[in-house]
């Protein structure tokens, strides 16, 4: 999670100018690259195909008659195009990526290797189940690991991402309430902390609920008294992230669970930060009813520039009957899939949330990750993640302003008080980090502190790497205080592009390329 609000500012007069002009705009290894459409050589293709047999078409008279407008390029041009594009990205493989709440940890390459085994990559989702027993076995084994690690009795594997998992869990809660209350439940209010991810309120709304925010106390945790005061006959559920988005464990979790259950509501836990406690704490022991697990966070499936992810949801006994289709059953002969209502038996699933069976490619990677770490490695993962975050906090707390007292969990939260009077904002500070070779931390989230900077180093950073990062952060903090404003407001300087005009992008959206002729026409 990070937030791309319209925070750009015009460049100030007198700030340093870009490197001297070159003929084509390239600057050494920093190579400019046109759009594919501007590299068109009509008639070229990067794929040679067999000849098309001569047959009489049976397209029902619907043959495409107009030109599509796709550009033609050869394979070497394509490889160069995307290689150049790739080099305009920051990535975990290049350096520390301390994006709080997003969990940018190393992505093991073994996982990429096994997912590409023909026995998985070449498997059709609707081939007879007797020909896909190994795939069903792997899904089932992954499900067993996740249930064991969370201490929960049931799981829905099909959700495609964290937010999709939230939808799954909240729909199961709605279905359980409807079933219990005999028809449409009158309970429509969902309590969500102010510090929650934006997906939580958006998901609640998508299930026909209204959202009622719960305030945080001065320690960055849920105010239990305020929470208790909001409970009532119309409350359906609480959605709580634990560890929360301030990087803190909610110590009153068990009491919150007791209170919501006493009020006949359900407890949805946002598992985005499960990586902080995996192998050490089972959320099931804290009294939750369901939780999604971002396989692309805790279990290190690659983020891929924005997905794909996977968001399996673990469920309590009370919610299990409402889990969406499909699921896997195991009988004496092997594994089978329950895909249709005709086969669901006593269960009353909410329906289906995804085509086919879920994000199989993510299950293979996550399973490889879990096997590689094992029970001992996973508790070391959470231990090192928490140790690294606390180390960063300890080493920065005298020059930056931690929002809450430690220890923190897997991420540490600072606000912008240390920048007071410096003329430097959280955004400026982040952009200056880019010039120092780092991806910024999550900025302006959570919303509960001013100018938030949420740093999540993850367990795959070495101490040497952290010490470098700390040295940079200390130097930048001192520099801001010393009034060296230009290095911040002019940043970034050493990037393929400097600050981009987000206001212009939103005011007159240009969301695709048009041929030059059409652009000229539109301008007239």
């Amino acid at each position: 999670m990070a937030h791309s609000r319209d925070l750009s500012r015009p460049r100030q007069a007198g700030s340093p100018v870009a490197a001297r002009d070159t003929v084509l705009g390239h600057q050494g290894l920093r190579l400019e690259e046109d759009l594919l459409f501007e590299l068109d050589s009509p008639g070229l293709s990067g794929v040679d195909l067999p000849n098309v047999p001569a047959v009489e078409a049976r397209l029902g008279g619907l043959e495409r008659r107009s030109e599509i407008g796709l550009p033609g390029l050869s394979e070497p041009e394509i490889v160069r195009h995307y290689t150049r594009l790739s080099q305009k990205n920051y990535a975990i493989d290049m350096g520390t990526y301390p994006l709080g709440s997003c969990t940018m940890k190393h992505n093991p390459r073994l996982n990429e290797k096994v997912v590409r085994l023909p026995g998985f990559a070449g498997l059709h989702p609707l081939q007879p189940v007797e020909t896909a027993q190994g795939a069903l076995e792997l899904i089932d084994a992954t499900a067993q690991w996740l249930k064991t690690l969370t201490g929960m009795p049931a799981i829905a594997m099909s959700p495609a991402a964290g937010a999709h998992g939230e939808l799954c869990g909240m729909m199961a809660i709605r279905a359980a309430l409807d079933a219990r209350d005999g028809g449409e439940t009158p309970r429509r209010r969902v309590l969500v902390p102010e510090s929650a991810h934006g997906t939580n309120p958006a998901t609640a709304a998508a299930c026909g609920f209204t959202v009622d925010p719960i305030p945080a106390n001065d320690d960055g945790r849920v105010d239990v008294a305020a929470f208790a005061a909001k409970l009532g006959d119309d409350v359906a559920a609480v959605m709580l992230t634990n560890p929360n988005t301030c990087g803190l464990f909610e110590p009153d979790m068990i009491e919150i669970a007791r209170l919501i259950h006493q009020a006949d509501g359900y407890f949805y836990c946002d598992g985005a930060n499960f990586n902080a406690i995996v192998g050490r704490v089972r959320p099931g022991d804290l009294g939750i009813d369901c939780m999604h697990i971002n396989l692309h966070k805790t279990f290190s499936t690659p983020h891929g520039g924005g997905g794909p992810g996977a968001g399996p949801v673990v469920l309590s006994e009370a919610l299990a009957p409402f889990a969406p289709r499909p699921w896997i059953v195991h009988d004496g002969d092997g594994f089978a899939l329950v895909e249709n209502d005709a086969d669901t038996g006593d269960a009353t699933p909410i329906g289906r949330l995804k085509g086919f069976h879920g994000q199989m490619g993510m299950f293979v990677r996550a399973f490889a990750y879990m096997l590689s770490h094992g029970k001992d490695g996973l508790s070391q993962v959470s231990g090192d993640a928490v140790l690294n975050a606390n180390y960063v906090m300890a080493r920065l707390q005298d020059v930056m302003t931690p929002s809450f007292e430690g220890p923190c969990m897997h991420e540490c939260l600072f606000d912008d008080r240390f920048l007071d009077g410096s003329g430097v904002t959280t955004l400026d500070f982040s952009k200056a980090m880019i010039d120092e070779g780092y991806h910024p931390m999550t900025m302006y989230f959570p919303l509960v502190v001013h100018g938030a900077m949420l740093i999540e180093p993850t367990e795959t950073e070495s101490k040497r790497g952290l010490d470098d990062f700390i040295a940079v952060m200390r130097r930048l903090a001192e520099s801001a205080r010393a009034g060296e404003q230009a290095r911040f407001t002019g940043a970034p300087e050493f990037t393929p592009r400097r600050r981009l005009d987000e206001t212009m992008a939103a005011r007159k959206p240009v969301l695709r390329w048009f041929p030059a002729a059409e652009t000229a026409e539109a301008a007239e």
Binding site: R5, G46, V47, P50, P53, E56, A57, L59, R64, E75, V79, N89, Y90, I92, M104, E112, V114, G122, L123, Q127, T131, L138, H164, T199, P201, A202, A205, A206, F249, P251, V281, D285, N294, G304, G305, G306, G309, E339, R352, F356, G358, L371, G377, D384, V386, N390, A394, I434, H439, F445, E459, T460, E461, K463, T495, R497, R498, A505, L511, W513
Partner: protein, 447 residues
């Protein structure tokens, strides 16, 4: 543990800097009763070699559609993926980066998304497209919700030619939102007329081309009828290669086009991850779900790209967002866009022509097999046939002979006796004459 860089000495020094006696002490906010202290049953860590052996053994217990004659389709298609695609998407700068929130160091992903959006708009015949959804089925549900926001009406009509999973997902995702879904019966003959169902409460009509049973239809008249009633036409494309040979839905007058993009760049992978395509008219762009990449300039006036119109999205709008979607299908979209870039206009159209021609060849061969009727007249690369007995049994018998004969409709629409004998067969550029020989021979034996 090969993925963890801290040494015991590091941990010791770091705890000293923190002033904590142990790592365990950092977990002091966790109630004692909830701490596991190792008390659960899972195996310890394994070497890379062992993990590869365990997972490799599981892979070996599957019959990959790529290794045997396969005619499976119904929303997922076995196509050849050029080697450059997988090479490029595995570059760490693409694979291990996050959603491009910091545009100055994400121009690679952003430019690729801008190109992706342009390609999707071009092939669907639409004006704008977003930066991807989870898959075709969830895109379909989001399109229905978008139509409701635009029309402020509460009824959606789903064609009987819509893929059963798409229908199922749409019904599920809207079930608590006071939306009335009118889904017509499975349209085996491709002849249903939906116009009569459109009324003043209708937000949208959802059709699919090619339909679930393979039919190609011209929806131009239906688009006009929708427009006359103030409803939107949503066109679903389950096999995106078809757009290289068939009139684009945008050219038929569709208001929203959603598609499953798996066929370009993404392996079958037992059903996921795939990539949903979502295209619309420019006037509706502010009601679209999902991420959008837009063009702008940087402080030096140079062209660049950013995520834009984020005031539609959950991280800004929270409960008033157009969708709760956050992570989408970035890397699958990248694979799609690279594959389509490699093909280009010529390659894409030839690939589509090849798929169609081979499907016609198979349809001709099957129609001469005794007992088999080809049901679908106009099709792209997939069609339905009626067998003389239930298709599920035939498929199982052929699987035992290492031929994956297709998808029996009963797998997706059970308990419909009229459809029990119907088999869907898909043909792609990977289907050779020898595969067709094997299928025809095997069918001849069991029928």
């Amino acid at each position: 543990m090969r993925y963890l860089p801290l040494t015991e000495l590091d941990r010791h020094d770091m705890l000293a800097a923190i002033g904590a006696p142990s790592v365990e002490s950092l977990f002091r906010d966790v109630p004692e009763a909830a701490r596991l202290n190792g008390g659960f049953d899972l195996p310890d860590h394994k070497s890379e070699l062992e993990v590869e052996q365990i997972i490799g053994a599981m892979a070996d217990r599957n019959m990959a559609a790529g290794d045997v004659p396969s005619f499976l389709g119904a929303g997922a298609y076995h196509h050849h993926i050029p080697a450059a695609v997988d090479h490029l998407i595995q570059r760490g700068e693409f694979l291990t980066s996050y959603t491009p929130y910091q545009p100055e160091i994400s121009q690679g992903t952003l430019q690729a998304l801008f190109e992706f959006q342009t390609q999707v708009a071009l092939i669907t015949g639409m004006e704008v497209a977003n930066a991807s959804m989870y898959d075709g089925a969830t895109s379909c549900a989001e399109a229905v919700l978008m139509a409701r926001r635009i029309t402020r009406r509460d009824k959606a009509i789903l064609s009987g030619g819509l893929h059963p999973h798409y229908r199922d997902v749409t019904e599920t995702q809207t079930r608590y939102l006071d939306l009335k879904i009118v889904a017509t019966a499975p349209d085996l003959t491709g002849s249903e007329d939906l116009a009569a169902l459109i009324d003043d409460d209708t937000a949208c009509v959802v059709v699919q081309n090619p339909g679930f049973f393979g039919h190609l239809r011209d929806f131009s008249a239906l688009a006009v009828q929708c427009q006359a009633k103030g409803a939107l036409l949503i066109a679903v494309v389950p096999e995106v290669i078809s757009l290289g040979a068939v009139t684009a839905p945008g050219d038929m007058g569709a208001d929203i086009v959603v598609a499953e993009g798996q066929s370009l760049g993404n392996p079958l992978g037992f059903g996921g991850p795939y990539v949903g395509l979502f295209a619309a008219r420019e006037k509706h762009v502010r009601q679209m779900p999902g991420r959008l990449c837009g063009q702008t300039v940087d402080e030096d006036g140079r062209r660049g790209w950013v995520l834009t119109l984020s005031t539609r999205e959950q991280h800004i709008r929270r409960e008033k967002a157009t969708s709760n979607i956050c992570t989408n299908a970035g890397l699958c979209a990248l694979a799609f866009t690279i594959h389509l870039a490699l093909l280009g206009e010529e390659g894409f159209r030839k690939l589509a022509a090849l798929n169609h021609a081979r499907a016609v060849q198979l349809a001709d061969r099957l129609s001469s097999v005794r007992g088999i009727d080809v049901v679908t007249d106009a099709f792209f690369n997939e069609f339905a046939v009626r067998l003389p007995r239930p298709a599920a049994g035939v498929v199982s018998e052929l699987a035992a002979q290492r031929v994956l004969a297709g998808v029996p409709v009963s797998r997706l629409i059970p308990n419909d006796t009229g459809l029990a004998d119907i088999l869907l067969l898909a043909v792609t550029e990977t289907t050779g004459e020898d595969d067709m020989d094997a299928l025809v021979a095997a069918l001849g034996e069991v029928l």
